[in-house]
Amino acid sequence: MALSLLLYHTRLARMSLRRDPGLSATIVAVMTVVSGIFSTGLLHYLRFYGPGPTPTPALHHVEVETAARTLLDAFQGTTAAPNAIAARMRVSYPHYLLLAGSHIPARETGTFRARLLVRRPAPPSEAAERSPSGPPPPTGDGAGDAAWRCPRNARFVNADFFGMFGLELGAGAPWTRAEEAAHEAVVVISKRLGDELYPAGDALGATLLVNGVPYRIVGICAAHGPTAPPWDPAAAGGAQDVLYLPFAEHERLVVSPEMPIHVSPRGPSTTDLLASQEIFVSYWTELPTEESRRAYRVYLDRTFGARRVPVVLRDLSALRAAFAPPPTAVGFFMLLTTTILLGGGLIMTRLLLAKGLARGDELGIFRALGAPRRSLFSRQLIEAALLSGTAGVLSMLIAGPQAFFYNRSVADTDIPISITPHSFGITLAATVGVGLLCALYPAWRASTRAPTVALGRH
């Protein structure tokens, strides 16, 4: 019976709204505008704080700060050699091969960022015209000429990186450990780079020149960003990474990390490095069970503890607490747009109060025929839900153009704001929620009017 009455009241609510189209349209128009503004604020908020890649909850971060010689000694006898450049420049150091010795099955990755030049190779015919006698030179004008002149953010990672941080690919797949060990020249590109250099959608399998070196595209990220990458909190708010390359490729490309942080180097040479008192390495590892965490702790203590080297092992929640994105104006903007939405709701309250007064006779008839107060109350909430729900849907007509013009006119980052099913769902829920909240008082007023007053019989 409850469902039957609900459907009946929904039908009556729709009729009531159609009976006064001007008032209904006014309410919808007001709520559409404020909901559209709210949605725009939400898009900014989600771009920065919204759900992005979901790291595995078993993620742990390891930080080691020690003298270079100590580090080398710690890895003595293993097949993993510390990367001298990486160690000097306070970058992550992958040594998952060490884990083979510790018998702890775990995924592991290091990551650092560098700025590289990217372009598509010139078409063969065009290259042959320029150099008829031989193969086309690795440099030269090709597609994406503007990109060629601007260094892009590239990230060096391991094969396990994508799975550990939940970075989904929309096409293709990450390279495997075997390909990484074989030093395959492969690359995963971002959605943005794919859209930019391969608008026809033919990026997968194509060749990309990175600092002039050809790489085969094996995967394309499914989404933009994230604005605040969980694997590199220091990079929050800037341009997004457009390339993901196997970690060892930084040697082939002869690149240095973008943000070097010197601890106490004595000079740029390897000799200076080995004489440095302190270097810093960090990496990510996955420890899904308590047993693996205990074993890894034992492993670290055994490797570094004897040498009195401090090691920090943090789980994901501690990581997030330590590296939370800095507060930005985005949060304030979200608060502002939410306030505007509530303001629109107050206008809706006023209009619904007037509507309730105008239809008092109809409500009185229903009361006379035996409708309890709560049924009239719920019917008016249904009306409010229909009005605000319609406004929530129509608000995309406001948010969409605003997002379009923002992306075209404001170049704060290269990560666009965009309407997603997620943002649409939140906007719709918020608009309907505000509509229902603001309809409570008018619904109560109208449903508690004495039937005799409503019928004008007093």
Binding site: M15, I365, R367, G370
Partner: protein, 267 residues
Amino acid sequence: MATTSHPPDPSAPPASATPAMLDMRGVRKVYRAGLVETEALSGVTLSVSRGEFLAIMGPSGSGKTTFLSVAGLLDDFQEGEYVLDGENVRGLSDQRLSRLRNQKLGFIFQSFNLIPDLDVFDNVDVPLRYRGLPSAQRDRRIEETLAKLGLVARMRHLPGQLSGGQQQRVAIARALVGRPQLLLADEPTGNLDSASARQIMDLLARINVEEGMTIIMVTHDHEFAARAHRKLHILDGKLIDPRGGVRPGEAGGAPLGGAPGRAAGAG
């Protein structure tokens, strides 16, 4: 001493030993507007038997509409007791009062008060919606009621497409579809032409006789009031029996009630 006896009124329903349909004792209703108090009903005491057809007359502002509102549980009262079909309505929750209105009462208003956006069928359906009846049963009952009132051909018409008399018949159908035990009619012929008004009165009389429906009707029309079993006047919120001049509740005066055709002071 010779005694006289009056022959039984053939139009009156048989005297019943069952409790009265409506029993008010000392009901008082006051309207307050700021510091101003208006006593709309003043110690009304009335008993209406089952199957009785009662007409109430009075000038504007005498309290007859207020009486009907209180009787119909549309309005509360400050003093007195009101027992409807054996149930004391004082202090009942809104939920319970709504249920009583839905199940035991039927309303007929002067201005019909049909829902303009609902067609005839859906207007008559409204009270049944709050009964929780299955859809098939509701439809059957509505069709039966409309057939009884000759409205089947107008089933899908909107109220605006009907004449005044037809609209009032729809209102009567809506009042009857729930099979109430008490019908409250507030000047049911007030907005109708004479021919339609007579048709409506014939209909009400027929319902009263054939189905034993208890009817309380407020009217200005003496001709229509004469068709009732009993006629009362209301003046300044007090009920008066025009035959005996005795006011209910006065010392020495018997309260009005009992079987139709018997009133205080008759003799």
